[in-house]
Assembly symmetry: C2
């Protein structure tokens, strides 16, 4: 690969910074980073003696983003940090203690503030690993523990997982469209806030980008960094050629010249002059970058000019509001583009800037120690949750994924299983277990509040994305109108859910 | 106003946290939160002896977002924090010092690292205040200072201003649509990252929202907080009525009940039962919330049921993917909604999740001490910048804004001025200065690196938004196809720019 982004080399400076979310962030713990209604509910649970009832909540989404056929999980590393630091600071408690209703009365009794002060994270968390390929309705994170803790975790977990999963998925789609060409992420200036940028750089790398422009993200996460120069560099000189020559003088081994400050054709001519001077010194111009105009037309024209001047190895980098669809179109037009720079459309997930993952109570332990399944109804079937204490299996055959099954924990083994689409029960698939290999997708992350999971490096996560995408048929990875990968409820879970829905509807009508 | 969001009362806990962006954020300074090419350019400026040439950069956008007729400035408070903390930490310098090219050579000489170590922020910054109404092409932030510092600031300033301005504008539009009803922001779970949420809560409040659900934002920024309960509260009980009763027991003075967990009509009936029990105790049910289904149909049905039961004062809160257009539609349908809850569509600016503000070099001081104007050409006229050392005047007459004018600093006074649209020069407007009052919109924020601006409180900023919007004719504030407010170049600046463009084009063609 021509494109060699700079790698941060000194890992000793990265290691102590890897605790990305700390109690010092914003001079505050992040334990208040949740919706106020989590506290009013927490208080009401506490008052009702329900705070420590054991609950199971599942985090899942209902539709792949971008009309994609798949989604890439990301954000778990932040979740781990969040949970390990889930502890109210004095500031936090004082803030809550001083909250007043309109009538001047304090909202929370001091006993509740003491309860929060002594609260220690003690949940079990099972989750799909980052870089995993995931689908609608399956749990991505399952939290089991005291009702009050599960409830407080709802909002931060959704904030973290929704965004990073969205961006990792967008990046994976763009990287698929680039079809082997390097994709550089440089969205910092248009990202949604500081962490919107940092977390997006991380998730973009997980999704397959080759580098980021964000130096802080490079330092914090150990991501390769890349970049050349801006129009302002050119404008700070009296003319373009002087600006090019000065830049090449500073970086004789790594110069990519932005050719569109004044006129692209003139810019390419000037770049060729610089390439000739570098050649006399035994050096090579690395590339040129085009950031405006018709990228198909001008990249082909620039390629022709560079080739005719004897510089077939000078690469062409293109940028300007690129996404997977524009890259696909430019590829079909046989544009001469070797490296793709993407920013806004990637880091904001421009065409769908939010993943709608939700976090729903699915079971509550009774006083007898049994799990009581919980269901929420809705006028829209898609919004009815999956009740019970469940998990996900992925079936593969000869190294290819064939179906994912959501099942109740403790399910008995059988030779064949049938999965049923929760929305359209006429969509069913029989799986012959004999011929299939199977993997449980939810991995243990925390047990009773203790982390029991070894965090992989970001490079390992990025590799997992590629390895896992490889086991899916290419029809599921098509950017438009993908073939739907089968994911369903195990037949017993389907029946169990149906019975619960009917029972809840009957209760509702007062029967 | 019925709706009284809780106010954080204990300001002593807010004050020390107001330094929102600090060197402890992420255990790191934020000085590396910039594009890598800013460092390669900085290095090349330093090598070329240009690092301390005095430059002027302007931050501006080219189009109002959301096809709006106006934009609300936000983010300056973060920019002030950023600049005051613009200092490389040891970690940062060590990271840069260790960066290596593919051939193993260090990218930066140690002399440059020393230069960065000693660098102290020393720029002049002038900016429009937060909450100001702004328009395309006018400078929102003008940075004057050493070329190298101006350059390093490009990316963080864009990141901060682009996002907060985008969200404040979206919020202002939603608040306009709500036409006096309170708008609650609760987007944390779908926001783009942690700071994407916090900064969005801040900007939403600036734009006119009444409260946030984000407890941490409430604490950090002093924003009112609000919230009630979720579906999980209901599901954690055996039946809805018990859940409602238990919640009302805990919050007899402030209960709003979510009625759509199972069936909305049944939910309203249960809410009425609770309202009757509260009434027996001399208390009032505050409201009900509907979060799904047809909001027009069900809000009117619920209103009718509540009124017939003798509860005309119970308010109806609606939520579910609301934005300014859906709120307008519900208002036109005479839906019985008193309070609006908005989340995803607001905090991600769903229909346009990025503002495309740019930051362009407009002048460079020559060795003789003269400002040399700088221009960037483009095939698209809209992308040609405005050169020179310029500022913005707003003309008002009888308390109504009549036009904004971009002009060169030091312009001579005259009785009438003509402003010319930079994109369509046939659009001109003569302003009779005698009848107009005038205000310079760029206010001094930093002088030679020293802050000379008193930061207003967030409540003052929110009030400014309302006061400033009030001076614009309602046709500019229309949500669809607004009347375009006149903003242009002063005639001399227009001629100056045209001459520079023609000169640059001539140079380009080798003439």
């Amino acid at each position: 690969m021509w494109f060699k982004p700079l790698k941060p080399v000194n890992l000793r400076f990265i290691a102590p910074l890897n605790m990305k979310i700390t109690k010092d962030l914003y001079h505050s713990s992040l334990t208040l980073l949740t919706d106020y209604y989590q506290f009013t509910m927490a208080y009401a649970y506490w008052k009702a003696g329900k705070a420590e009832e054991e609950a199971i909540f599942n985090l899942f989404f209902r539709k792949n983003p971008f009309q994609s056929g798949f989604t890439i999980a990301a954000g778990l590393d932040y979740v781990i940090d969040y949970c390990r630091n889930m502890k109210f600071g004095e500031n936090d408690l004082a803030f809550l203690a001083e909250m007043k209703e309109a009538n001047g009365e304090k909202v929370f009794e001091s006993g509740f503030i003491d309860y929060l002060k002594n609260m220690t994270f003690s949940c079990d968390i099972d989750a799909v690993e980052e870089g995993e390929v995931v689908f609608p309705n399956m749990p991505m994170v399952r939290v089991k523990g005291p009702l009050i803790q599960c409830q407080l975790l709802e909002t931060p977990l959704l904030n973290i997982i929704n965004f990073q999963t969205l961006i990792a998925t967008k990046a994976a789609r763009i990287v698929l469209a680039a079809n082997g060409d390097p994709v550089m992420e440089f969205g910092l200036r248009r990202a949604q806030g500081i962490d919107g940028a940092l977390a997006a750089s991380r998730a973009s790398y997980i999704g397959g980008c080759a580098s980021t422009s964000n130096v802080m993200a490079a330092k914090l996460f150990g991501i390769p960094v890349s970049g050349t120069h801006a129009h302002s560099w050119i404008m700070s000189f009296d003319d373009e050629l002087s600006a090019f020559e000065s830049y090449a003088e500073t970086f004789p081994d790594n110069t990519t010249l932005l050719v569109d400050t004044y006129d692209i054709v003139q810019g390419v001519k000037h770049a060729i002059e610089v390439a000739e001077k570098l050649k006399e010194r035994g050096k090579e111009l690395k590339g040129i970058r085009i950031d405006s105009g018709d990228l198909a037309y001008f990249s082909n024209l620039a390629r022709k000019m560079l080739n005719e001047a004897g510089f077939p190895n000078v690469k062409i980098v293109a940028s300007n509001d690129l996404d997977e669809h524009i890259i696909t179109s430019l590829k079909m037009q046989e544009a001469s583009i070797d490296v793709w720079g993407v920013g806004t459309k990637l880091v904001t997930a421009y065409d769908q800037p939010a993943l709608g993952a939700v976090y729903k109570l699915s079971a509550l332990k009774s006083k007898d120690g049994d799990w009581v399944p919980k269901i929420k109804l809705s006028q829209q079937s898609i919004k009815i949750n999956i009740p019970g204490y469940h998990n996900v299996l992925r079936y593969t055959s000869k190294g290819k994924a064939i179906a994912d099954m959501i099942y109740l924990e403790g399910m008995e083994k059988s030779d064949t299983v049938t999965i049923i689409d929760p929305i359209d029960p006429t969509r069913r698939k029989k799986i012959s277990v004999d011929n299939a290999e199977v993997e449980v997708l939810l991995k243990p992350i925390f047990s009773k509040g203790e982390k029991i999971y070894d965090r992989p490096s970001i490079q390992q996560i990025r590799q997992r994305t590629q390895d896992r995408l490889a086991i899916f048929d290419k029809t599921h990875k098509r950017l438009i109108n993908p073939h739907i990968y089968p994911v369903g409820l195990e037949a017993n879970l389907y029946e169990y859910r149906t019975a619960l829905v009917l029972k809840a509807k009957a209760m509702d009508n007062g029967n």
